[in-house]
Amino acid sequence: MANYTLKVRRYQPESGEGPYWEEFDVDLDPSLSVLDGLLQAKDRDDGSLSVRCSCRAAICGSCGVKVNGSSTLACKTQIGEAHEAANRRSKDASTPPPRGADEEYKPAEGEERGARTREPGREIARDDERGQAGAEDAPIVIEPMGNMPVIKDLVTDMESTHWTKIRRVTPWLLPHGEAPEREYVVEPESMIDITQSMACIQCGACVSSCLSMEADPDFIGPAALAKAYRFVGDPRDAETKERLHDLAHDPHGIYDCTHCFSCIDACPKGVAPMDQIMRLRRKAGEHGIDDDPNNGHNHVTAMTKIIEKKGTNDESLLIQESYAPGVKGKLKPTKGAVKGLTESLPTVLRAIKTGKARSLSKLIPGIHPKLPGGAQDEVKAIYEHTEAHREEFNLYIKGEEGDEAEVAVAEGLEPPQSREEAVQ
C-alpha cells in the first residue's frame, strides 16, 4: 500500500463554471492502476467524478485519458509508475528547457561541465539528490483526452470526432461477387498482417496524442487510417485501389501525417497507427497513385531516395523532386515540371523564412555533403535489410520491444555502431 495524490482536471457542465483542478488522496498497491485510483476516489470521496471504464484490463478501450500529459488508458497505467513519471516530470519542469541542437552548450551556474556526459548510474544518483529537493510527491496529473470536446470530467465526446472519422474510411469489407461456399482462401500471413490493425480497441489514445490533428482537425487521423489499412491489407476486399485513391487524394488523408510517432507511443495495444499509415502510403505508390494534390507520394519517394543515396536530407533536391519528380539533370524540363517548380516557390520561401531550410546556399543543388567513410554503405545495408524483413515488423510475429535485439542477433545482423564511431 502507498499513498498517492491524483490531480484531476474536472469539468461539471451543469455548474455553469469552467474546468478546475481537484486533488484526491488515494491509498493502494503500486501495482494497481491509475483507474483503480480514480475508482477509489469515486467510491470513497466523490461519486460525481466521471470516467468511462469497464473491463479494467485494456481490452474495452473505455478509459482513454491523459496521465501526466501522455495519452493512454487509465487501467493500463500502473499507479506506482505514474507516480514516478509525475516526479520526473515535475523535476523536468524545474530544469531549463532543452537547448537547440546548434546552440553551443554553456554550463549553467553551479553546474559542472562534466555533468552532461555522466554515466547512466551516476545520472540516477543525481536525480535522486534532486528529487529530495522537492519533487518527491508530485501529484499524478489526470486529464481528459485531447483533440476531442469534453462532456464532463474525464468523459469526452468521441462520437463527433473519433467515430465520425472512423465512418469516413468506409469501415466495412467490400468484397466483389458472391461469397464462396466455404471460406475465402488467403495467405496465412495476410491475416496476421491485418490482425495488428484489428487489435485496435478504438480507445482514441492515438487521436488524443495526434499532433497533426491538433494543427488540422480535419485530418482523418491515426485510428481511422489504421482501420482503413485493415481493409486495404485484407485480400478479401475488392476495392483496395479505390480506397487508396480516396485516402491519398483527400487533403486530410494519408499524406497529412507528419511522422511524429506520437500515436505509436500512445497506443496501448501496439497497433502502431503511424506504421499502418506508412503502409497505406506504400500501397498507394504500388498502385500507381502518385498524383495526389499534396505531392505526398512524390515527397515520400524523394525523401527515401535521397537518404538512401546521401544519408542525410539534401533540401534542394527534396523540393525539386517533390514538386517536379525526375526533373534533375533534364536540360528541357517538361511543362508539368516547370509548373511544379513554380508552385514550389511559396513553400521554398516559407521554409527559408521559418528556418526549416536554413539558407539559400543550402538550396543550390549538388553541394550537399556526403557521409564520411563507409557510412553510406551502412545506410544502404539498413535499406536492404528492412526491405527483406518487412513483414517481421508486425507485432504478432516479432513480439514486444524486448525481443528486437534477439531477433537481430539471431539473424546475424550486427548491432548498429554508435554515432561517434560512424562519424570517425
Binding site: Q12, E14, S31, K42, D43, R44, D46, G47, S48, S50, R52, C53, S54, C55, R56, A57, A58, I59, C60, G61, S62, K76, Q78, I151, K152, D153, V155, M158, E159, P171, W172, L173, P175, A179, R182, E183, Y184, V186, E187, P188, M191, I194, T195, M198, A199, I201, Q202, F231, D234, R236, D237, G270, L395, Y396, I397, K398, G399, E400, G402, D403
Partner: protein
C-alpha cells in the same frame, strides 16, 4: 416516443447479431446499449469459437462434448441446434471480414480447447471476441439505415401491456439524463452476465446482470441460476483472465512443488479437462497447502514456443507484463480460479422466447440451456451468435404478425420517481452504494464459489437480503443530469442484488454436486433426484422455486471423467 418493431437491449455479440438478423428481415430495428457497442464485454472472449467444420469432425461430437461438459444439465435439443448451425455461422463471420487464423493452405485453422475431443476452436490470435465484435459493429455502421443505434442509453425497466406482453422499455439517455419510453413489438434482452456480483471477477464493471434482473422483475422465469462458472486461470486479486487458449497451446499447470497436478484429477485430458474440473483441482491443491503463499498455483507457458506465443497469445503476454509484471514467455505466472460466467439466466426456448410474450433473451443473459452446469470454453461466443440470430429472426416474425400496443406512461413515471427518490437521499442517510457492492462481492466470492455448503450459502443469502434493505437507503453524491454514473451504479446495485438472491436460493436448493455447483455436503451427482432445472420466478416472498425437465435426445447421462 422512439418506436421500433424490434428493440435490442445490449450491443455485445448477441445483441449486435440479433439486430443484424432482424434488419435482414426488413423490420425496423433499434439497438440500445449502456456503453458504446465496442466496449461490450464480448471483447474479453479471447480464445475462440467452436464449430465442427473440419472434414474429420462432426456436430454430434461437438454436441456430445458440450453435453458432457454441462454435466448433463444442458438441454440436448438446444445443444443440437447450436452445434449443427455452428459451421455456417463461422463461414458467415468469415465472409463478413473476421480475420480468422489460417492454416498453411490458407484455410481456416483451429486450436485445441478444454473439454473438446477434437481441435475445433477457430480464432483470431487471442482477441477472438474483440475481432468478431468489431466486425459486427462494422456491419452495424454499414446498415445504419435499417438499425438505429442508441449508444450510451441505460435501461431501467421493461414495459408490459395489459395482456402481460412486453411492449417497450424505459431508458435513460446517459448523455443528458432524460428518460424515454421506447415502444417495441419485440424486445430482445442481450445484456450479458452478472459477474460483478462477485469480487474478484474476470467480468467487466458493466456486467451487472441488468437483463436478468429486468426480466425477473417483469415476471419472467430464470433458470439454472446456481450455475456460476469459475475460470481456472485468472490473475490473483485482480481477476484478469488468462485464456484457456494458453492451455490449448500446451501450457502446464503446476503446484508449488512443481508437480503437474492435473495428472491426479484428469489423467487423460490433463489441463484440458472441463473448467469446473480444473478449477476444483486447483482449489483443492491450494486448500491442501500445495499452492503458493499468495493462494495460487502456476500456469507455465514457457513450454510453448516463443514465436507461437507471440503470434497466438499476444494479449496474454501484455496482460502478464502490464498487470502482473511477468514475462510469460520466460517464467510461470500465478493464477487461481475466478468468477467468470453465468450459465443460468432468463429461461428461453431455442428461439430466444421467454415466458413473457414479446420478450426475448440471448447470450449470457439467457439460459436456453446449452451450457447446463458448466460451459465449455469457446462455446460462449457460439451461443451468443446462434441464439442472437435466432432471437432476431423470431422477434421480427412476431413484429410482422402483431399490432402495436402503446406502453403506458405510468411505467415511465414510476421509474422517474424511483430515480428522483435515490437522488434526494441526503449524504449520510445510509451507506454508500460502493460499500454495499463491495460487501456483496466479497461475500459471494467467499460463500458461493468453487466449493459450497449449506451454512455458507445460507449466510450469503442472509447477507444479500440485509444488503437489499440497506440499498433502499443508500445515497449517492452526483445529483446532476449529464453523464451521472452515480445514479446508474445505484440502479445496477439493485440488479446485482436480485441476481445474487436468485443464485443463493437456487444453490441452496440443489442438494447435489453437478458442474459448477459443488456442494461439499452433497459431493455426488444425483441424477435420480436432481437431473432437472431449477426455475425461479418473482413472488411476494422473493424467488419462488419450481422445476423443469432436462431435454434428453440421444445422450443418456454417464459418469463424467476426463
Amino acid at each position: 416516443m422512439p418506436a421500433h418493431d424490434v428493440l435490442v437491449i445490449g450491443a455485445g455479440l448477441a445483441g449486435q447479431r440479433a439486430a443484424l438478423a432482424a434488419a435482414e428481415q426488413g423490420v425496423s430495428v433499434g439497438i440500445v446499449s449502456k456503453v458504446h457497442p465496442v466496449r461490450s464485454h464480448s471483447n474479453a472472449a479471447q480464445g475462440g469459437i467452436n464449430a465442427a467444420l473440419n472434414p474429420g469432425d462432426s456436430w454430434e461430437s461437438h454436441a456430445f462434448d458440450t453435453i458432457k461438459g454441462s454435466d448433463y444439465l444442458g438441454d440436448q435439443d438446444a445443444v443440437e441446434i447450436m452445434c449443427r448451425e455452428a459451421p455456417e455461422e463461422i463461414l458467415h463471420l468469415e465472409h463478413l471480414g473476421v480475420t480468422f487464423h489460417r492454416n498453411e493452405e490458407g484455410k481456416l485453422g483451429t486450436r485445441a480447447f478444454g473439454g473438446a475431443s477434437a481441435a475445433r476452436t477457430y480464432y483470431v490470435a487471442d482477441i477472438t471476441g474483440q475481432a468478431i465484435m468489431h466486425v459486427l459493429y462494422e456491419q452495424l455502421m454499414k446498415h445504419s439505415d435499417s438499425v438505429a443505434r442508441y449508444e450510451e442509453w441505460f435501461c431501467t425497466a421493461l414495459a408490459l401491456d395489459e395482456a402481460g406482453e412486453c411492449c417497450g422499455v424505459v431508458t435513460r439517455n446517459i448523455a443528458d439524463g432524460s428518460m424515454e419510453l421506447f415502444e417495441a413489438k419485440s424486445v430482445i434482452l442481450a445484456c450479458g452476465g452478472n459477474g460483478q456480483v462477485w469480487k474478484p471477477t474476470t467480468n467487466a464493471l458493466i456486467c451487472t446482470g441488468d437483463g436478468i434482473a429486468m426480466a425477473y422483475r417483469a415476471g419472467a422465469k430464470l433458470m439454472d441460476m446456481e450455475m456460476i462458472q469459475y475460470h481456472p486461470t485468472t490473475l490473483a486479486g485482480k481477476g484478469f483472465l488468462i485464456t484457456e487458449g494458453a492451455r490449448g497451446e500446451g501450457a502446464h499447470l503446476l503446484n508449488a512443488k512443481g508437480e503437474r497436478f492435473m495428472e491426479r484429477y484428469a489423467p487423460n485430458k490433463m489441463e484440458l479437462a472441463s473448467r469446473d474440473v480444473v478449477s476444483r483441482a486447483e482449489q483443492t491443491e491450494i486448500n491442501e497447502g500445495r499452492g503458493f503463499p499468495d493462494g495460487t498455483v502456476a500456469l507455465d507457458i514457457t513450454v510453448v514456443p516463443r514465436k507461437r506465443v507471440h503470434e497466438a497469445l499476444r494479449e496474454i503476454v501484455l496482460v502478464g507484463r502490464d498487470f502482473a509484471g511477468v514475462d510469460i514467455t520466460r517464467e510461470p505466472i500465478h493464477i487461481k480460479p475466478g468468477n467468470h460466467y453465468t450459465m443460468g439466466g432468463v429461461k428461453t426456448d431455442v428461439d430466444g422466447r421467454t415466458d413473457i410474450p414479446g420478450l426475448y433473451a440471448a447470450g449470457e443473459t439467457a439460459c436456453v440451456s446449452v451450457h447446463g452446469g458448466n460451459r465449455l470454453g469457446a462455446n460462449s461466443l457460439l451461443d451468443t451468435l446462434i441464439f442472437g440470430r435466432r432471437s432476431g429472426v423470431d422477434a421480427s416474425a412476431r413484429a410482422k404478425r402483431i399490432d402495436r400496443t402503446r406502453p403506458s406512461k405510468a411505467v415511465l413515471e414510476a421509474e422517474q420517481a424511483q430515480i428522483d427518490a435515490i437522488s434526494s437521499r441526503e449524504k449520510g442517510s445510509g451507506r454508500r452504494v460502493s460499500e454495499i457492492k463491495l460487501e456483496l462481492g466479497t461475500t459471494m466470492d467467499a460463500k458461493v464459489a468453487v466449493f459450497r455448503e449449506e451454512a455458507g450459502i445460507q449466510e450469503a443469502l442472509e447477507t444479500v437480503r440485509r444488503l437489499k434493505g440497506e440499498a433502499e437507503s443508500a445515497y449517492i453524491d452526483d445529483k446532476g443530469s449529464v453523464f451521472n454514473q452515480d445514479i446508474l451504479a445505484a440502479i445496477e446495485l439493485g440488479y446485482m442484488l436480485d441476481n445474487a438472491e436468485c443464485t443463493c436460493v437456487a444453490a441452496l436448493e440443489r442438494k447435489e454436486s453437478r458442474g459448477a455447483q459443488y456442494r461439499t455436503d452433497f459431493p455426488e451427482r444425483n441424477d435420480e433426484e436432481w437431473l432437472k432445472h431449477i426455475d425461479l420466478q418473482l413472488s411476494d416472498d422473493g424467488p419462488e422455486i419450481s422445476f423443469s425437465e432436462v431435454t434428453i435426445t440421444q445422450w443418456e447421462p454417464q459418469e463424467r471423467t476426463y
